[in-house]
Symmetry: C2
Subunit: 131 residues, 2 copies
């Protein structure tokens, strides 16, 4: 299949590039509607999937039942707040060595690892106890 240019897809990519909060498809939809008022949610899903498939963005499955998307495709760790559901980058060097270790003790083929940390984000920790 030959990709054809699409202004909607550009817009989705642009939007994602401006965000560091790993938005969901729905958030992308709302955001892109600023410039494409009648873009379809299906178009957003289709393009997010396509962009992830060709490696231009990264799909994050962080266990909250909703897919998040990241413009930064370099391997890095994420944190997920169990309270508010926010997803943040972690400033911790990614241990690709773990994947290598895994390869050595497994008979199939390991392509990569997905690691996320969970807990309570700084904002929620602060708000949590109004006594």
């Amino acid at each position: 299949m030959n990709l054809k240019h699409s202004r909607q897809r550009d817009s989705i990519k642009e939007f994602l590039a401006t965000r560091k909060d790993h938005p969901t498809a729905d958030v992308v939809y709302m955001g892109v509607r600023q410039s494409f008022p009648n873009i379809s949610l299906g178009t957003v899903y289709r393009n997010l999937t396509l962009l992830a498939d060709i490696g231009e963005i990264m799909r994050l499955r962080v266990g909250d039942g909703v897919d998040h998307f990241d413009y930064d495709t370099s391997p890095h760790y994420h944190f997920v707040c169990s309270q508010c559901g926010c997803v943040e980058d972690l400033k911790l060097p990614f241990n690709a060595g773990l994947t290598e270790e895994a390869k050595e003790c497994f008979s199939g083929e390991i392509e990569g690892q997905m690691t996320y940390f969970y807990g309570c984000c700084a904002d929620c920790t602060g708000e949590q106890m109004p006594v």
Copy 2:
């Protein structure tokens, strides 16, 4: 809330204890129906959630959009096959130190980590190329 005994819940736990393949709620449902032919899918979901909440089983969110359940609650790594979707244990010592490292570089509270590896399992790797 005081737990009351339930034969259905026992049966769900027993079933899970016999399995090492980290079945989904649906698979548990089918399995438990051998002994409880008219158990309700809702009962299965409710009890799996309850058992996971009280720490008697572990819920695995391995990014395939379906929850898997594990009778083994000790921290350990999992592998997920992108082809057939199977989930297997990895014989690789769990690196809890990574969670400690993450705590040190994050301002909120980190409770734990979830790591899974993905790729192609041994079975699928073999079947893949019939030339």
